[in-house]
Symmetry: C2
Subunit: 410 residues, 2 copies
Amino acid sequence: MNIHLICTGTELLNGGTLNTNLAFIGEVLRRDGYALRREVCVPDGAAAIGAAVREELQHADLVITIGGLGPTSDDLTRDVVADVLGVKLHLDATVLATIEAYLRKRGARVTPQSARVQAMVPAGATVLPNPNGTAPGLWCPAGAGRAVVMLPGPPVELKPMFVDAVLPLLRQGWPPELCSASIRVCGVPEPTVADAVDRIVAACPGVTPAYCARPGLVEVHLTAPPVAIASLADAERQVRNELGEAALPPGCSGMVEAVGNLLRERRWSLATAESCTGGALGALLTDRPGASDFFRGALVTYANEWKTALLSVRPETLAQHGAVSAATAAEMLDGLLSRPDVDAAIAITGIAGPDGGSAEKPVGLVFIGTGVREHRRVQRHLFPGSRETVRQRAAAAALNQLRFDLLHYP
Amino acid sequence: MNIHLICTGTELLNGGTLNTNLAFIGEVLRRDGYALRREVCVPDGAAAIGAAVREELQHADLVITIGGLGPTSDDLTRDVVADVLGVKLHLDATVLATIEAYLRKRGARVTPQSARVQAMVPAGATVLPNPNGTAPGLWCPAGAGRAVVMLPGPPVELKPMFVDAVLPLLRQGWPPELCSASIRVCGVPEPTVADAVDRIVAACPGVTPAYCARPGLVEVHLTAPPVAIASLADAERQVRNELGEAALPPGCSGMVEAVGNLLRERRWSLATAESCTGGALGALLTDRPGASDFFRGALVTYANEWKTALLSVRPETLAQHGAVSAATAAEMLDGLLSRPDVDAAIAITGIAGPDGGSAEKPVGLVFIGTGVREHRRVQRHLFPGSRETVRQRAAAAALNQLRFDLLHYP
């Protein structure tokens, strides 16, 4: 089936807002066995939105629109789609009551007109509840087995509505085209992963691989039509066997979760000492709730004097080897692990660039120390890319290095 | 004029990659006085790309394509566009030599065939140099005063090429439609900014305002046709007067730069003490080069014991007032400022959520302490939104609070 997405909003076209809804919907559909075939982004305005809906309906089974359901004069999607579909809008009393209750609960002034605008429903449409905002979603039959579904633009409203209300209706109307499996692989370059997976998949009829590389992590997506589900399971098992510990456990969202779970199982604590990452590793470790189970804190010793004052890095080490050196990383690590409440530790020192590199110590040179109690090691890395990329890769490599330490301790 | 963008790549439609190129191009065009009118995203594949180029050329003066210029079998944009335009491709010896030199310099194996594919140039096209990769951009006349410009997909290659090579050709072909001015405003809610700006702009003929809210920062964009440039300058002056110190200086990219410049002028140093932000403020302060001019480091004291051990927060204070309290924030701040090499400091403690809130201390409650030497203060905030949003807003509010301290010290 063909699913097309129309994103509306001048702010998406003038750089005001990054279109994160597209990536979200694309990923959710893929995981559920569907494919988003096309996306169009148009500015606010009835003419542009109407033309886009008409065009996309020519080739799509389901057209999803995002945005333009709010209460202001810019918000025209509801009227435009009703017009394209040739149906009338009516005021839905239940929707109106829900919107008014939502606004009242939040102490917002209920502007009768704005609530009424958002309570207008096209004839024949299914109302999709919006627990996180005022405008409901609207699923409208569009003839010839097709449908148009209108969703609100704010991600906090769109995301739960898409998963909880749109996917069930989608599954009712169209069976998934594909089964899928995902394997997250850490610390192995994408070409190496792809070589191994391509070779395995070549012997698994019906299975197609896709790859998505993020800093330090490659996501392998395997898909297959429902008739080939056994072949898909076989491919996933073989890939996991081949990749071994480089593959995260099934269902694990990423390296932070993997490291967190290993620490939780052992009731161990973690601390970090950071220089070039500036606190980014600490921020990464705490960006999901539950980090206080294991994370003590981070000592971001950007200045050399702080490395000495807070981590007992010796001034002679700094003078002799420099701040970016295996010796400094080792002493940063030792400084952390000398604290009585730290079981596991990570130390990072490097040159993120774009300035500060030399022939001997180029931009991208990073030393990463990891340790579990008395088992400690420092590895040298040379990361390509921008300042941001070097910092992200350093944080990812550090987490993966510690993950292996935890898996193999003692 | 109509500028349309075609982004190619299945990874953009299946959630593998966030489309940051769209926002980048939209913003650069707007700043230069142009408007991106439409964007389409299609999967890899000659049929989809060809259909999109044909369709968009019906309504656009300039069609920009992104992606599909690489050396693999997926990379078809070059051939498809030449086919749509009805021109032949020829091997460009200069381009080939440039690609081979680029690969050799990086120690990459030069695969003759892959270099040759990327050195194919449509008849009549202008080659846009790519100093950051192999595939050059290609600007192709498309008849009737129109053009198609093909750009590589990796942002690190696309961004400089767009600014350095595409914009000059764009300006040669079409005069900018609009003049623009930007004002970055910190610490004032978007509706308040919009009220003030709308009132001023109403009396400045030809000037249109637009707003873009980021955590802790509202960007005000004023645009006007070239004939109204005096009115635009008048509007900008009045808005800056009205907003006073809430507006960052012209040309200042954001709060980190503003705070950094104030510290540099005074030759003062900065350190942070973070709890709920987990190091995110330190990461923010160091995500551009040059932070070592003023940034000493961050003490991320996630565990209460670390607040005591590293910042001398008294156990009685934690017991009596809790870790999320004005008293704890004040002692964290004092702990930092007691270090001999710290002139200015920020301390943050709060409840980022989604768990851990109570009636008395709800999720989003954050205490921010800032100080310059002996001048110190703690402010209480209640930030709405997700864990990520609370952390971002806390970091932004902290920077703005310190910015005002620096402006008014002593």
